[in-house]
């Protein structure tokens, strides 16, 4: 059945400038600018100012929507929340090297935008992974065998982490026994919460 109108709103914190035009959302904050295109969704986006408190809100409407379009309202809001968090707090993903015998040798090249992985499982093959735009990777000091990926856009940071992980898959072996690889150990933000 078609639900005549389903809508949802979200608060926009102060300190973030948001622009909505033709289903393209642009968010600007202390850490930079991010934009996202929602033209594949059939939803109405509008910015309203709440009368009671005077804060800005983002309202999303779905007119005569099926179950799936109604579900897309909240996912769109979550994407915008991620944009806002990225632009205010940033995203930091930590990955750990896991190896049983052959130490994984990783060197950061290109001023923190690419990583080279050697000696994975003793292989001679050098794996090179380029980070996506806006994502930087560094080897953490103090913690042994850790990589820290930082960036504003959660999609790009998490996808870069996945690219590193996928380059270090074990082939033709029992993966329950050969547990080597580089795995995501922590997903967090750059700015610390008090």
């Amino acid at each position: 059945m078609k639900t005549i109108l389903s809508s949802d709103t979200m608060d926009i914190p102060d300190g973030v400038k948001i622009k909505v035009k033709a289903k393209v959302i642009e968010v600007e904050g202390p850490r930079g600018k991010l934009s996202r295109n929602f033209k594949h969704l059939n939803l109405d986006f509008q910015l309203i100012t709440d009368e009671a408190t005077g804060k800005k809100k983002l309202k999303i409407d779905a007119w005569f929507g099926s179950r799936k379009t109604t579900a897309a309202i909240r996912t769109a809001l979550s994407h915008v929340t991620n944009l806002i968090n990225g632009v205010t707090k940033g995203y930091r993903y930590k990955m750990r090297f896991v190896y049983a015998h052959f130490p994984i040798n990783a060197s950061i090249t290109n001023s923190a935008t690419a990583i080279e992985i050697r000696n994975f499982l003793g292989e001679k093959r050098v794996r090179k992974v380029d980070m996506l735009e806006g994502v930087s990777v560094i080897r953490s000091e103090k913690v042994k065998d850790e990589l820290v990926l930082e960036g504003n856009d959660i999609e790009l940071v998490s996808r870069s982490a996945a690219l590193i992980n996928q380059k270090c898959h074990v082939k033709n072996k029992d993966i329950r026994k050969f547990l080597d690889g580089i795995y995501v150990s922590e997903k967090g933000t750059i700015a610390e919460e008090e």
Binding site: K2, D44, Q46, D61
Partner: protein, 134 residues
Amino acid sequence: MPFKRYVEIGRVALVNYGKEYGKLVVIVDVIDQNRALVDAPDMVRSQMNFKRLSLTDIKIDIKRVPKKKTLIAAMEAADVKGKWEKSSWGRKLIVQKRRASLNDFDRFKLMLAKIKRAGVVRQELAKLKKETAA
């Protein structure tokens, strides 16, 4: 950008298809997702699909399914006819109807009037051109 004309009881709409083409009607009840009960002072109350209606900006204050007398009184109080004829949409429809009902002599008179107006405009334009050239 958000919608301003909603389907509600009292919304005035223009019929854009069917036997009642071109009539202004009032939505007095909503039957289901696709159909409404509409009423006008000069027609029997009947159901219509929303696709046959074009919503206008005018809305009158009535309760659900009023009697014909109350409906006519509410339409007079809100001056639906006057507001419609003053609105740009209403004026355009009136002009279209007048143009469609011209006979050949009227069209001849219209042609002479257009030529005369264009002549006056061209004279003024020539005057302004001479001033800027000088």
